[in-house]
């Protein structure tokens, strides 16, 4: 589904702040793959997401999504088939617009052919209500309230719904539960699991929780210095413990794992 070939990106080239964020990175995801990504700070996880989403153009290499070459496609064209969640729950929604209006904007992806001058119809409204009730947060009864009144967890759940209201070719989750309290994070994670599984969406999820990295999805990827140093799946992954993962990382990266936040995170903790 997603094929990244030899992609590199250097920020501030030719200056003292030169930073090679992606270093001939290659990754191939099969349809329905759900890969978790872990890596130390500055490993290039978010940069890889930005490269896929088209926030910037890669310096070299090609990116294919669903068989199409999207290397030079502008961001807003790519986002028709890419769903994306950020760590900050405030980023994915428009606070001064109502829940219904936010969903309508997200739903534009599906109605690209219909008139830009059409309004939210009764049919759309009923559809949004159905979708919102799946979140089980009572949002379906608050559709005309501004999103700014919702809690961070509710906003992130809404963003998840907006990113998947039209099934994307790939869903990019960038530590989307890291800023939420433990109970809400568990809820949003559960929703993620359900939605991704129900429609077998191809998904990449950055996490800083090692247990999550092994438990969610069917593949675990570790990144370091703009490269993938470990990529495990299937039976090899099933029996793995966090210790195994760290040992394999050290072997692949040539150094010990150095992110305290990740090392200190516990099984249920965040």
């Amino acid at each position: 589904m997603l094929r990244i070939e030899n992609v590199s990106k250097t920020f501030n080239p030719g200056t003292v702040n030169e930073k090679k964020a992606l270093d001939h990175l290659s990754l191939h995801l099969l349809p329905g793959d759900f890969a978790t990504i872990v890596g130390s700070n500055g490993a290039g996880k978010s940069t890889m997401f930005n490269a896929i989403a088209g926030t910037f153009l890669a310096d070299e290499g090609t990116i294919l999504l669903g068989g199409e070459d999207i290397t030079f496609r502008p961001e807003h064209i790519r986002s028709r088939t890419i769903g994306r969640l950020f760590q900050d729950p405030l980023m994915g929604t428009a606070p001064h617009m109502t829940i219904e209006e936010n969903l309508a904007v997200a739903y534009l992806r599906a109605s690209g052919r219909s008139s830009v001058f059409s309004r939210i119809s009764r049919k759309d409204r009923a559809f949004f209500r159905d979708q919102l009730s799946l979140l089980d947060m009572g949002l379906e009864d608050r559709m005309s309230q501004p999103v700014g009144l919702l809690s961070g967890g509710q906003r992130q759940a809404l963003t998840l719904l907006m990113a998947t209201v039209v099934t994307p070719r790939i869903l990019l989750l960038d530590e989307h539960t890291a800023a939420l309290d433990p109970a809400t994070a568990a809820k949003v994670l559960e929703l993620t699991r359900t939605i991704v599984a129900e429609r077998s969406i191809t998904c990449l999820m950055v996490t800083h929780n090692m247990h999550q990295a092994l438990e969610m999805g069917n593949r675990t990827i570790m990144m370091n210095a703009g490269r993938i140093v470990l990529d495990v799946a299937g039976t090899e992954r099933e029996g793995m413990t966090v210790e195994d993962l760290l040992r394999r990382f050290a072997a692949g990266a040539g150094k010990a794992f150095d992110n305290d936040r990740i090392l200190l995170s516990t099984e249920e903790g965040i």
């Binding site: 989403a53 986002s79 428009a94 209006e101 534009l108 963003t159």
Partner: protein, 306 residues
């Protein structure tokens, strides 16, 4: 009527409604798109100049369309500078504003003012519908009110369409827009073109209303419109869209009424800019002042009870 005659109130409302169009234009660029567009002054004069020239040629209605078209072009250039060439939005507005001065002069045949006496205007056409005294006095105001009603309704309708929602989202959360298949550059362009057309419409109407166009007509317009906008938003808050639109027009009329009162109090015309500045400052400070007074009141009652 004494202090404020019907005539004074009527004139205040007429001018207030015309300025209300400029305030609505800023409502779109400043409140909805969150862009500080400072090309208003030049764009307003552009609308007046283009409208005046076409009206002199004998086509007052066509003049309105041409003026709005010119406003769209002005908005497009401002948007192009900031979305494609990376010019900061404030700077883009200033650049366009400066350039428009020469263009406006050129439109008026390189003279600093033109008058449109002797030809029909939309106001004289509408006024000739009836001969009654009432109609003679009030037809201008009725026409302007109808125009504002139409424009206000159109804005309300437009902001509820898919396109309008996308424009609102662009001003509200850029990150969200990037993730939802909307092209923010296109939305900013459409928004500024729309906003420019409203400013130019106001300029055209004021030209036909006063039967003259002056190159310095627009000077300070952005402050006046901003004052109206802020008064309106203070009155209505960030509630539902139709209420906010009505609030902006109301704010503009209120602003002109305050100016009329200042006139009646014999405030010298040289002091008008200061009066305008004070009105803006008071309007912006009002919500904060209310909070301060409330806090002070609580403090006092707290002392008394303890």
């Amino acid at each position: 009527m004494g202090f404020l005659t019907a005539g004074i109130i009527r004139t205040a409302l007429e001018v207030g409604l015309i300025y209300g169009l400029v305030a609505l234009s800023l409502f779109i660029s400043f409140s909805i798109l969150d862009i500080c567009d400072l090309s208003t002054d030049g764009c307003y004069t552009l609308g007046c100049a283009v409208g005046a020239m076409v009206t002199i040629a004998g086509h007052p209605l066509l003049g309105i369309l041409c003026a709005m078209g010119a406003g769209v072009c002005s908005g497009f250039v401002t948007a192009f500078l900031q979305t494609r060439l990376g010019v900061q939005s404030i700077l883009a507005g200033i650049i366009v504003n400066t350039g428009l001065y020469t263009i406006n002069l050129a439109v008026m045949g390189f003279s600093s003012n033109v008058s449109i006496f002797g030809t029909d205007t939309v106001f004289s056409l509408f006024g000739s519908l009836s001969e009654s005294d009432f109609w003679k006095d009030w037809s201008d105001l009725i026409l302007l009110a109808l125009i504002l009603l139409a424009v206000g309704t159109f804005i309300y309708w437009f902001l509820g369409t898919r396109l309008g929602l996308s424009i609102r989202a662009t001003g509200d959360s850029l990150a969200m827009v990037r993730a939802s298949s909307i092209n923010p550059a296109l939305m900013i362009t459409i928004g500024l073109c729309f906003s420019g057309s409203l400013t130019a419409l106001a300029g055209c109407l004021v030209g036909q209303f006063n039967k003259t166009c002056d190159i310095n007509l627009g000077t300070g317009m952005v402050t006046i419109a901003l004052a109206s906008l802020v008064i309106g938003e203070t009155l209505t808050g960030r509630g539902r869209i139709p209420v906010r639109i009505a609030g902006v027009v109301l704010g503009s009329c209120l602003y002109r009424l305050i100016i009329s009162i200042a006139l009646r109090l014999n405030v010298p015309t040289e002091a008008f800019k200061l009066v305008s500045a004070l009105i803006v400052a008071v309007a912006i400070a009002a919500p904060e002042a209310r909070k301060l007074i409330a806090a002070r009141g609580r403090q006092l009652s707290h002392k008394r009870t303890s």
